[in-house]
Assembly symmetry: C2
Homo-oligomer: 130 residues x 2
DNA sequence: CTAGTTGCAAAGAGTTTGCATGGCG
DNA sequence: CGCCATGCAAACTCTTTGCAACTAG
């Protein structure tokens, strides 16, 4: 849990927000933020804090063997399910109404409370199906 | 892609099937399979093949920082969405009918083809909500 | 037999941590 | 100023790989 608002922390958050639609590895961030003078360890330490705060989620993609990070801190994320494409890796937001319907459906069918901000449906998007 | 049916591969598959309802790390498997004389590298190599065949999926859990594996090779898995509890880590299968309905709903709303065998909805199960 | 698979140990990748320095409040 | 966060490098953990021995078909 951070107590100071450091420059590094701000830069990292900005970067994550700007790239909320695609999954990032810690390495990706390091490359993009190195020029701004942000060390790998600062990235890892902040990512760790952000996860504890529930603003960042770890995830794996399709057959990939790496761990990716996704920003889920936006207020909108709480209201939407996420759709992630196996092929291109892009993440889309599902409409709030449909999300609501789905969450309720699962609740009544399986007595399971879905956390939409943190769940990702995997599949293939419109573009990649062509 | 394997060409031989080795003892190690069978044992690993058996173990995965027997534990399809909970996420396992490669280490977990190694511990349980060491007594049967199966090396870590055999486990990793077979897991890799199994992933390529689409029988095993990698996933991350809640705030955890590790990679887990789940068996998705059972024919039933193709017909069900998976519900995984943040708290206890247990995986449940959602009914086939509801799964179908959900998949269709997403398709018509977002033009996105959900791969149910490989997607996991995160949330909190009945037990853990008490 | 022949080629794929295993075990072991060493190599790699990604992530974490200790400690001195620097910066937020 | 005091304490937290950063940077760097070393330490770790998990995963992959080279090679000789083994084994399924």
């Amino acid at each position: 849990m951070p107590k100071y608002e450091t420059r590094q922390r701000k830069e990292l958050l900005d970067f994550l927000c700007d790239n909320a639609d695609r999954p990032l590895t810690a390495g990706d961030m390091a490359v993009s933020l190195k020029e701004k003078g942000i060390s790998l360890s600062a990235i890892y330490r902040n990512l760790s804090d952000l996860q504890d705060e529930g603003k960042v989620q770890r995830l794996t993609i399709g057959g990939k063997k790496r761990v990716y990070y996704r920003y889920t801190g936006a207020k909108e994320c709480e209201k939407h399910l996420h759709l992630s494409c196996f092929k291109c890796g892009h993440t889309f937001h599902m409409g709030a109404t449909t999300t609501d319907a789905l969450v309720k459906e699962v609740m009544s069918e399986s007595d399971f409370k879905v956390d939409s901000a943190n769940t990702v449906l995997y599949g293939v998007c419109k573009q990649c199906r062509k």
